[in-house]
Symmetry: C2
Subunit: 142 residues, 2 copies
DNA sequence: TGAACATATGAGCATCTCTTCAGACGAGCA
DNA sequence: TGCTCGTCTGAAGAGATGCTCATATGTTCA
């Protein structure tokens, strides 16, 4: 049954989140809404992408990742030195990046060495840097 | 003057943020640190990129942007319907995206129509979506 | 001209996030 | 074997963020 826009509005207050395609939801171009809703990635894909972009959304983390992009493999104190951050902050950052498998580490005695380990993040950063006129001199991975 | 690692450590507690190249800062591979620090983008470029990635770091915002990627130009209630979000939340999202010039709007009577207006964001999203096996069917911009 | 429509905006609240500080832990050294 | 080194982790505090709700605003309609 076709519901008027006015009836839709009353049925679905603007501040209520709603399911795509919910016919009590107000819309203008039903066909386009359906097409777009169908084309959107799944909730979990959206969540994963948002999380991945979130990793790049902090200046401190972005510097650490860019440092590894440029420097290949580096230890924590060298990353901290290159980025102008404290070792503690860098360590926290690396912990988060490790948890998301963006970096991987190897131990050499007391030293821990880190390198970028995510081609997706690498490509996104390459594209982003190139777009702001800052092509990365990424080292070939060993 | 060459400072030993031990003296460097005493001079620069690990929890103090420090300037790149600061010779009181502890480091292992001075040459590499200098090379990497020199290759890093400026502070403001890093800040801008982090901010841009931040715009993509929220699932709600990511859905809105992806909806516009797929749907071209859409009004607020259609975006909300396609995304399964409230109109109020979408409106807030669009305000933020407008402020960052990621979207632009045009008025048609009571209706406001939005479209993606940032090629950088468009490219990053295209790359990200393609990487998760979800190629965007981006419409050619008018 | 008042009401309805479509959208925008602000405040409040709950939650999240980042940095610092302090301490823990494993490896190496004298 | 105790100390130092390099790194890691947790807690606390300050600040940021997103959604809902309520209200405001401009446009259209009867």
């Amino acid at each position: 049954m076709s519901i008027s826009s006015d009836e839709q509005r009353k049925a679905a207050p603007a501040s209520r989140p709603h399911a795509p395609g919910d016919c009590a939801v107000r819309m203008v171009d039903r066909e386009k809404v359906d097409m777009v809703a169908a084309a959107l990635p799944d909730e979990d894909v959206i969540g994963d992408l948002a999380q991945m972009f979130g990793l790049l959304a902090d200046p401190g983390r972005l510097k650490v990742i860019t440092a590894l992009l440029e420097g290949g493999e580096m230890c924590v104190c060298d990353i901290a030195a290159a980025c102008g951050s404290s070792e503690s902050a860098v360590s926290h950052t690396l912990r988060l990046l490790r948890a998301h498998r963006v970096v991987r580490s190897r131990r050499g005695g007391r030293m821990a060495y880190y390198r970028l380990d995510d081609s997706h993040v690498r490509m996104l950063l390459d594209l982003a840097l190139a777009h702001v006129g800052h092509p990365a001199q990424a080292q070939a991975s060993a």
